[in-house]
Amino acid sequence: MTTETVLSGAAGGLESALPTTLFRFATAGSVDDGKSTLVGRLLHDSKAILADTLDAVARTSADRGFGGEKGGIDLALLTDGLRAEREQGITIDVAYRYFATDRRSFILADCPGHVQYTKNTVTGASTADAVVVLIDARKGVLEQTRRHLSVLQLLRVAHVIVAVNKIDLVDFSESVFRDIEADVQQVGRELGLGSDGISDLLVIPVSALDGDNVVERSERTPWYTGPALLEVLETLPAADELESHLESFRFPVQLVVRPQGALAPDAVAAGLDVEAYRDYRAYAGQITEGSVKVGDQVSVLTPGQAPRTTTVVGIDFAGKSLEEAAAPQSVAVRLADEFDVARGDTIAAAGTVREATADLYAALCWLSPKPLREGQKVLVKHGTRTVQALVRSVSGKLDLASFKLEGASSLELNDIGHAQLRLAAPLPLENYLHHRRTGAFLVIDPLDGNTLAAGLVKDHPGDHEDERYSI
């Protein structure tokens, strides 16, 4: 008994001493759903708001006559943005916010709902481990909810959490919550969310205004036995944990580190062996997927050439030699053979990548006011390579409410559609369904350089087409 107590005490102490890990999440929903209040509540209750900010918000709350029976501050003001936004009463853009608990540091991409919701949701979700979608308990699942969920499914976000907000305004009614929960799960099933163990769907009743089930579990929802929102965010596995079982090492080469005698003076002063590093040559990049060990066989993929196989002889990071490294580490890799490897090439686990192709089939999330038309010339940025491309055809546009593909020959702002592009040079494209990094690309306007679309690589028609891609 005594021993157990001591042990668990020691384990608890060790756990809190462990370095925190990073967790990225996004919020999707409109002002009316109480999203700003929820974000404010999370920041406030996790003590991320410092006294001077809180004072300023309290003054503004009082000036604007906020308070009423709560007599408190308007938490939504904590996420108040730019003057241009306050003047127009809208939220222009994704805002990034930071808070931490003992377990994790959080990066929150706070995505506005009303204007350009697809653009913002796609942007926030592209880097998120989880997305919190808000629903007003009085309104239930709306078309916008369906749209958000289908975008998240398309982007393969690992965890989707639906916060049924304003549960206080329906008198903490279990039946209201259960009906909404059933509707959400129904939409999830239609989309295939949670069907393959990658994306999961959680529904939580909350009151952002009063804090129920946001940071602490609420006594006012005794029928809900699940965790509070923050507990969920603290314990969900991050995307890189979920993907760590993948053995498909992928490493797009950013640049070649080859000092040729121009060694860093501080490293030399610290005792770097100048002779040993005279012919140093390594390939710098960030591992996008999987892991690599010294001695591993790898393929170097240079578009337009057959893959070349060699062995990893070193993994360096700023003076340290590593035995192995994993996504998302930035390292420099040394290879046994003196290949001509350059930026734009990819180093991958040997034999796991198919040949580069110039035919690109993709789902495109169109993010620009300039529409996409067949025959248009664009740039495609994939990994560390940018190539010219011709839009050969647009094969349909997704109706986000019904999840059906409709006929279309162009795509406009906030549309999601399917298109076929012909690339000026082949790229090592992979299906986004299985490779969130090497299956993603940008479509760029060659005239002004602006980003036109987020692209998700699909399998070629004729290959096995995954059903989930036809949404």
Binding site: R83, A84, A264, S330
Partner: protein, 315 residues
């Protein structure tokens, strides 16, 4: 060659695969990826270096990104002429240690030539924009690394990691490119340039924990020391050539440190007994005030002070 490198191994990590990276390692990895992308995709980058902690951390990350090679770009400092002398000294020693080229844009020279006017309140921080844009143009820098962090200010919270600036150096918050996955779009036309913020996602506490972990040297005024100060606008101001007490402002000696380092004329010190980096980490973790709110007169000018300066091309 590989044999000699293995012998030099200083540290081997055992299980990089089985455990997740710590948040600091993840942030470091992200920053290095960004720095390498910019160097690969731009003709002539430069790194804004003031000797302040954020720029020191950014430069440290750059040395790690290109090891064992030199940092392949110059550093740029906009010198207001009101800098703390020990910070200028630190700047020069750092540049020398890393073998870098230093480009200085001088606010004083612009004032001397009559191209900038001294402000009534005496602060020169907002005057840095013109010399900054001039230095960018003169040197044809097409990408400029900045140490801005999104947790500093609500305008910065909406800043992209790669942020396009027009021919006038202006930031247009309503017309920003969506930033997707880790694919950074830095395409720009002649005359435009890009600001790159590799430590966008770091908080003040992350910065200090990293300084502690990596044993990074900082100017001494970040740590508690005795200094002659006087009270103004609710802050402790250092006594110096450009920072003199007015009538009724009594000079006293206090144990203080700086949380941010800008001009002597607008940066306040905080009372502190944090003499070491470990002390500072504890102090920052327990702080109840934001760093800019506590120490920067320039950000108290109005609610949207940073937003206005950024639109005009400020850091």
């Amino acid at each position: 060659m590989s044999t000699s490198l293995t012998e030099e191994t200083t540290q081997v990590t055992d299980s990089a695969v089985s455990t997740r990276l710590s948040s600091l390692d993840t942030l470091e990895s992200e920053a290095i990826h960004i720095i390498r992308e910019v160097v690969a995709e731009f003709e002539k980058p430069a790194l804004l270096f003031s000797g302040g902690k954020d720029s020191v951390v950014m430069l440290h990350l750059a040395t790690k990104a290109f090891w064992p090679g030199k940092v392949p770009f110059p550093v740029l400092h906009v010198d207001t002429g009101h800098n703390f002398p020990e910070v200028i000294d630190f700047r020069d020693r750092t540049v020398e240690r890393l073998g870098l080229k230093l480009v200085v844009g001088s606010v004083q020279e612009f004032i001397d030539r009559g191209e900038l006017a001294e402000r009534a309140d005496g602060t020169r921080n907002p005057l840095q924009t013109v010399p900054l844009l001039d230095a960018i143009q003169q040197n044809k820098f097409d990408a400029v690394f900045g140490g801005g962090r999104r947790d500093e200010d609500k305008a910065r919270a909406k800043e992209r990691i790669l942020s396009l600036r027009d021919e006038f150096g202006q930031w247009d918050p309503r017309n920003q490119r969506p930033e997707l996955w880790n694919l950074y779009n830095g395409r720009h036309t002649v005359g435009q340039h890009v600001r790159a913020f590799p430590i966008s996602n770091w908080t003040e506490l992350d910065i200090w924990r990293y300084i502690e972990r990596e044993n990074i040297e900082l100017p001494g005024l970040y740590y508690a020391h005795e200094r002659e100060v006087f009270a103004r606008d609710g802050m402790w101001r250092a006594v110096g050539e450009v920072s003199q007490p007015r009538e009724g402002e009594d000079v006293i000696t206090k144990t203080v440190r700086y949380r941010t380092v800008g001009d002597m004329s607008c940066t306040g010190a905080v009372e502190s007994n944090a003499f070491t980096v470990a002390d500072v980490v504890v102090e920052v973790a327990a702080s109840t005030l934001t760093e800019r709110g506590a120490t920067r007169a320039d950000d108290r000018i109005s609610e949207a002070a940073m937003e206005d300066r950024k639109k005009d091309g400020y850091f």
